[in-house]
């Protein structure tokens, strides 16, 4: 009966929302793939590399909040563990791939152990309780990083050098004169190698997460999010699954931290541990859409563009309204987070599934 209705009903509409999402993600992927050639200036490359790392970080946070319904505020803690592990090893043992592997490995291991501990200790209680415990843990980690200054460099952070292969002075393909060969006007030097190292690692991690989400494990996680009691009743050990996904997300975040540390050649509380990053990730995932990996991609790009261009726009607005009381203060570029916060609240009210989620839902409804 239902089949018949479907066939004789109105002709199937094109799933516009879905196409829009996939199209945008495709464009972003292409732009990131050719970023060094499309946007050769230094600042754009910084932005592109940051977007790559943050897509991984936000997507791994989405595994928790969107797919499993766990609210954790400790995600930057794991990110920071990866970054600091790499940074400390590079600083202490010199710039080699072995240091990256050793330090990064130690960071990832620490993240895994800590995640398992926190998970087993507190995932059996309510979501809210867990949010508080993770917040407390993350704050302590932040304080530790600034206090153990002989290892972590304290508030100043660590500056270190990375393997020679990634240095701008290294030629990947040298021409007759010993200079780096240019392709489309861009010298093929170590910086390019570093960018593609970051890009391909991010892509691989993202692919792993897509695989996890599509696997039976992903389905169980969604079941837990929708109805915990029911999932337990069907026979899934909810605490076990939650701890597992918490550990997986922690490991991926730590790996993203390694990438960040290698790219920046600097690790400090501001870039690897602070709550600003946590808030950023939260905004990214909610704006993009919880429970869709694509949401993380679009969210990161939107947030990054907003943080660069919203400020410019607001500066213009502040100048234009300089004669009116109050308004210039509200439009001061430093207050861009204020408007993002307001937008965030409105989004949680009216489009709780985020941009991507809303677009995809509309298709689902139109298709019925």
């Amino acid at each position: 009966m239902s089949l018949a209705v479907e066939q004789t009903g109105a002709p199937r509409q094109l799933p516009m929302g879905r196409l829009l999402v996939y199209g945008t993600v495709g464009l972003i992927a292409l732009a990131l793939l050719f970023a060094p050639f499309l946007f050769p200036d230094v600042r754009s490359q910084e932005v592109a590399a940051r977007i790559c790392v943050f897509i991984v970080l936000a997507a791994s946070f989405d595994l928790l909040i969107g797919y499993t319904g766990i609210v954790s505020f400790a995600h930057t803690m794991f990110f920071g563990l990866g970054a600091y592990g790499t940074a400390i090893a590079l600083k202490q043992f010199g710039a080699s791939f072995t240091s990256i592997a050793l330090g990064g490995g130690a960071g990832v291991l620490a993240a895994l152990v800590l995640a398992a501990l926190i998970g087993l200790l507190s995932l059996r209680v309510k979501a809210i309780f867990f949010a508080m415990v993770t917040l407390a843990a993350a704050s302590v980690m932040l304080v530790l990083a600034s206090q153990l200054s002989e290892f972590t460099g304290g508030e100043d952070g660590l500056t270190y050098s990375i393997p020679r292969l990634f240095s701008p002075a290294t030629e990947l393909i040298a021409d007759a004169e010993g200079k780096a060969v240019k392709l489309f006007g861009v010298a093929l030097n170590g910086k390019i190698a570093l960018y593609y190292f970051v890009f391909s690692s991010s892509l691989a991690l993202f692919a792993v997460m897509l695989r996890i989400v599509a696997s039976p494990l992903g389905r169980v996680l969604k079941a837990i999010r929708e109805n915990e009691m029911r999932a337990e009743a069907i026979g899934y050990r909810v605490v076990g699954y939650r701890t597992a996904v918490f550990c997986i997300a922690a490991v991926i975040a730590a790996l993203a931290g390694i990438l960040r540390a290698v790219w920046l050649k600097y690790t400090g509380p501001e870039v690897a541990l602070s709550f600003d990053i946590m808030i950023d990730i939260l905004l990214i995932v909610v704006i993009g859409g919880m429970g869709t990996m694509w949401g993380a991609v679009i969210g990161v790009v939107l947030m990054t563009l907003a943080s660069y261009y919203l400020k410019d726009l607001m500066a213009l607005g502040a100048e234009a309204t300089a004669s009116i009381p109050l308004l210039p203060d509200l439009l001061n570029p430093d207050r861009w987070l204020l408007w993002l916060g307001v937008g965030f609240i409105l989004l949680v009210y009216f489009f709780p599934s985020g941009l991507v989620g809303t677009l995809m839902d509309r298709d689902a409804r139109a298709g019925k």
């Binding site: 508080m132 808030i279 203060d329 993002l340 916060g341 965030f344 609240i345």
Partner: protein, 331 residues
């Protein structure tokens, strides 16, 4: 083991923990005068944290809302209090002790009123639409936190703000070798007064009865025909006012405040609420005293691990009692 537990319970149960902590610290510190000073400091700090934590805990207990914007209320209270103290400089800095105290109390009262008003606005506009949905509550209160912090930065700017301390509350009482800052005694007294007030309201009045009943079983109170939403808003305002009061007290204690004050205190407040058990005023008091003492003792013994020690305390207590020491809700 069972006998030990029974004895422990008979002599006051978990309420003994601060005493045990104090005794251990006494042995480790070894100098009675230092120990007394540290204990007084710990109790005063605990009382100020209690002001901030009790509001959060009460709101959670009754409304099942964990308000992540609570720290913004603390910061707002601190800045409002500091501003009022700035206006009343003549009173504060004068030599008349009565005017000193009146000025400080006025600053705290104004902070509490402003906190209550912010709370009212928050409950109506931000939290009301998302009752019962934990995930969206957390998200939306984090959004509220971002906006509130930005507004505070916009109004007061990012530079540290000095807070004048009333003349009569500067200096210390010195008895023999022991010296205790006057402000700490004042903070302890005010905290104790607020605790007493909360206790009387919650345990001796009809409204308190309804609130406790609401914590226990909200649907039942509603079914009996009471307007629980009015209770909600009242408790939310009271909780926010307490947070702002705590913030104002803390501002006077610190002497120099920045916009990140609330966020820094919030870590301790969360630890207190988790240790004490969500929704209970007594639990908050117990947790706050424990955390305050721990912070001061460990801060003296080995300053580097002060915050870590509270984290370890929290972990240990969670292992022992996953719901906190004196939970009021077991939902």
């Amino acid at each position: 083991m069972k006998d030990l537990n029974a004895t422990f319970e008979r002599f006051g149960g978990v309420m003994l923990l601060p005493v045990i902590l104090a005794i251990i610290a006494f042995v480790l510190i070894g100098r009675p005068a230092t120990w007394i000073t540290l204990t007084a400091a710990g109790l005063a700090m605990g009382m100020m944290i209690f002001l901030m934590a009790s509001g959060l805990s009460l709101i959670f207990g009754l409304m099942d809302v964990l308000n992540f914007s609570h720290s913004a209320f603390v910061t707002a209270g601190a800045f409002v209090g500091a501003t009022v103290l700035g206006w009343l400089t003549l009173w504060i800095a004068g030599s008349n002790p009565v005017l000193n105290i009146v000025g400080l109390l006025m600053a705290i009262a104004v902070a509490a009123v402003v906190g209550g008003l912010i709370g009212w606005f928050f409950e109506r506009v931000i939290i009301k639409p998302v009752y019962g949905d934990h995930l969206r509550q957390i998200l939306i209160t984090v959004g509220g936190l971002i906006v509130a912090e930005e507004l505070i930065l916009m109004i007061w700017g990012g530079a540290p703000l000095p807070v004048p301390r009333p003349e009569v509350l500067t200096g210390s009482f010195i008895i023999g070798e022991v010296s205790i800052e006057v402000y700490r005694v004042f903070a302890f007294g005010l905290g104790a007064l607020v605790y007493l007030g909360l206790y009387l309201v919650l345990d001796r009045t009809r409204v308190g009865l309804l609130i406790r009943a609401g914590v226990e079983n909200r649907e039942m109170v509603e079914a009996l025909g009471f307007r629980i939403d009015r209770l909600f808003i009242g408790v939310f305002m009271a909780g926010s006012a307490l947070a702002a009061m705590g913030g104002a007290m803390w501002a006077g204690y610190q002497g120099l405040i920045t916009a990140s004050l609330g966020a820094e205190m919030m870590i301790l407040v969360f630890i207190v609420v988790i240790i004490g058990g969500l929704g209970s005023i007594r639990g908050s008091l117990l947790g706050a005293v424990l955390v305050g003492l721990m912070a001061n003792y460990v801060g003296f013994l080995s300053p580097k691990v002060a915050l870590l020690s509270n984290m370890i305390l929290m972990m240990a207590i969670l292992l022992w009692r996953p719901w906190g020491l004196l939970p009021a809700v077991k939902r």
